[in-house]
């Protein structure tokens, strides 16, 4: 192997020191033969870094002024490729096909945006059908990935399923024929997101925000729902608004009342009055639990996803489906009042070791062993949600692949703010882990997970088959200690309105 040049060694050290992974002293220790020459350069790097200007959020007024100026500014004519003269038909084809393909590929694979780069603009992700925004008295089509500034009024058509991701990482899933206006969307000194819902159904996942005065509100003609870090649904039908909470708690406010609606509870409101009877949703949920060496992601029939990625990102886009945070124990996915159809479950490895996928449906439990060497499991599920229960059945086999890294099917918009929050959480957990390790006073030997690609052929698994028939894939039921606490999608309880003093 060729000896790296001094420039290469310096470059590596610069990156390590700049990223805070190593101190100057540690770098010098690692490269004793270059230490004398490296030190002054690394000191110079630290000096330059002192001049760095911190990142800032753009001024919404400037953005608005820019967009106004942009609409007045004509574009240059495109460069005419030489081939267009020789192959006019091909060039016309390319002019239509290439951009369309680029957009389609972007839409199909993953949307990973830096929505945090804008203090105000939110990002639209389209999963099915169409969405459009109001412009004066007209409605103009919205594209997948569109930026939605404050004031945007948008609606989905009869087949439209969309997701809006706000700057703090909170998301709102829009069902078909849903209309909503983004009244406020900021997350600077305090998070303030306010929506006005005029019709349809919204499934809101509100990012946790401990700061005082942070708010996330959905206002309808019937009531205002105030949330902090929670998952809830607001549905407008038959002249009233139904609010149900799946996780955490929300407050439903009318001009007369203020009611706390906890997980599993639901209330209805009509014209600023809470109705005496709650909307009960009594179906028994199904649940999928993976052990701690893995994370799971459930992708719905329309492409919306609920689950977690190996980097710790947690998302809950599927109305009626919830996930626990894998950072706090075995990850548990709960399927309540979801749309029936074909779902895909992707189980990805995050640590070495074997594990289990526990399936709880129709009052039964089944456990699938997850092998120590395999990286990614992909399973197709048939989910049937009735008024009484949600049933999960596996279709086809289990596909085991080395990795699905390049075919990530979840479509997430990861904002800068959400990424930073995730980074902070990771550091906290790392510190906590180190603290625990030190307390245990065990030998400080650790194994860095080295995940080798290993392809295992597709193995058909039928959950209704006796475990002994496929001993390598189906194991007896796991012990209850491996299962996370009971789901929060429990049957709804009736909440009586209380009168605000």
């Amino acid at each position: 192997m060729a000896t790296p040049s001094f420039e290469d060694v310096l470059d590596q050290c610069l990156d390590e020191v700049r990223a805070g992974r190593l101190t100057v002293a540690q770098c010098l220790e690692r490269c004793p033969q270059h230490a004398a020459a490296l030190e002054p350069e690394l000191r110079a790097l630290l000096a330059v870094s002192e001049l760095a200007v911190p990142a800032s959020t753009p001024d919404p007024a400037r953005r608005a002024a820019f967009m106004a100026a942009l609409r007045e500014t004509p574009q240059d004519k495109p460069r005419r490729p030489w081939a267009s003269f020789a192959l006019p038909r091909l060039s016309r084809f390319a002019a239509v096909f290439v951009p369309a393909t680029a957009v389609a590929v972007a839409a199909l694979v993953l949307v990973l945006g830096r929505g945090g780069s804008s203090a105000e603009a939110s990002t639209l992700t389209m999963f099915a059908g169409h969405a459009e925004r109001a412009e004066g008295s007209d409605w103009v089509p919205l594209q997948d990935g569109a930026s939605l500034p404050v004031g945007t009024r948008l609606r989905t058509d009869e087949g439209g399923r969309a997701l809006v991701t706000f700057v703090d990482g909170s998301t709102v899933a829009l069902d078909p024929q849903t209309e909503v206006t983004i009244e406020r969307a900021q997350a600077g000194r305090r998070r303030e997101i306010a929506l006005e819902q005029s019709s349809g159904r919204l499934w809101s996942q509100v990012a946790h925000d401990d700061r005082a005065n942070s708010s996330f509100t959905v206002r309808t003609a019937d009531a205002t729902v105030v949330a902090r870090g929670t998952v809830f649904e607001t549905a407008i039908a038959n002249g009233e608004t139904a609010v149900s909470t799946a996780e955490g708690a929300v407050e439903v406010q009318t001009v007369r009342e203020r009611i706390r609606v906890a997980a599993g509870d639901a209330v209805r409101a009509r014209l600023q009055s809470v109705l005496p009877r709650a909307t009960a949703r009594a179906s028994a949920p199904a649940a999928l639990t993976v052990s701690e060496a893995f994370v799971a992601s459930l992708i719905g029939p329309d492409g919306r996803a609920t689950g977690a990625l190996p980097d710790g990102s947690v998302y809950q886009q599927i109305p009626g489906a919830l996930t626990s945070d894998p950072g706090s124990g075995p990850q548990r996915l709960v399927l309540g009042d979801v749309a029936s159809g074909e779902y895909t479950l992707i189980v990805r490895r995050v640590e070495l070791g074997a594990g289990t996928l526990l399936v709880q449906t129709e009052g039964r439990e089944r456990a699938l062993p997850l092998a120590a060497g395999a990286e990614t499991y992909t399973l197709r599920l048939r989910v049937t949600a009735t008024a009484a229960q949600t049933v999960v059945a596996f279709e086809g086999g289990v596909q085991v692949t080395p990795t699905d890294g390049l075919t990530l099917r979840e479509r997430l918009v990861i904002t800068e703010r959400a990424r930073q929050a995730l980074e902070r959480l990771r550091e906290q957990r790392q510190a906590e882990r180190q603290r625990r390790q030190q307390q245990q006073a065990q030998p400080t030997f650790s194994v860095t997970p080295v995940l080798r690609p290993q392809v295992t052929p597709t193995v058909p698994v039928r959950l209704d088959t006796a475990p002994t028939s496929v001993p390598t894939r189906v194991a007896p039921v796991v012990t209850p200690t491996q299962v996370a606490p009971e789901a929060t999608l429990a049957p709804a309880r009736t909440t009586q309105p209380s009168v605000r003093p």
Binding site: F6, E7, L10, D11, L14, R18, P40, E41, A44, L45, L46, A47, V48, E50, L51, V53, A55, S56, P58, R62, R63, F66, M67, A69, L70, R71, T73, P74, Q75, K77, P78, R79, P99, V103, V105, A106, A107, V109, L110, V111, L112, G113, R114, S117, S118, A121, L142, Q143, A146, S147, P149, P310, D311, E375, T403, G405, L406, T407, L408, L451
Partner: protein, 195 residues
Amino acid sequence: MNVREEFVEATALAERRVVEGLVAQAQQGSADAFGALYDRYQPDILRYLTNHMRERDEAEDVTQQVFLNAWRAIPRYEQRSVPFKSWLYRMAHNQMIDHFRTHRRPTRDLEGIDPAVEAEAEASVLASERRALLETAMQRLSDDHREVLTLRFLMEQSAAEAGEVMGRKEVTLRGLQLRALRALRKEIEALGGAL
């Protein structure tokens, strides 16, 4: 490559595809698509220009002009030639040079410290002096040296990314950054400072 690295690579690929899609739409005249590109890159370009120009308001104005120029020129941009982000950085660099040609280049020197600052605590004064010294040393560097240090250490770009912006091979850029650091040390010493 482990799952996390695969994920990072996958997200980078996906980000590239999203940007390609937005660029393609903007090339067809979509203001919304260009607005989305503005949201993605405006903070980076503003930070880059502020790092160079040290005057936030001026940098804001130049940033707006960069994006307007980019909107005008985007139909002529070829995705295969250089990544869109690097293309924007090049435009920002050129716009900044144009700006300095028509406006007096802001210079700072050690005598320019605000007297009010001197009344502050000694530590604060020392920090201000050190900062002024570093800024002066940076201003005295050649354009290439200042650019490579800005991209690598103020904008935290990798050597490969900085190379794309500056139109240099990665290996050439590493040599350039070494020379730039040495030149900076020399300037700091010439100004009577020490690292």
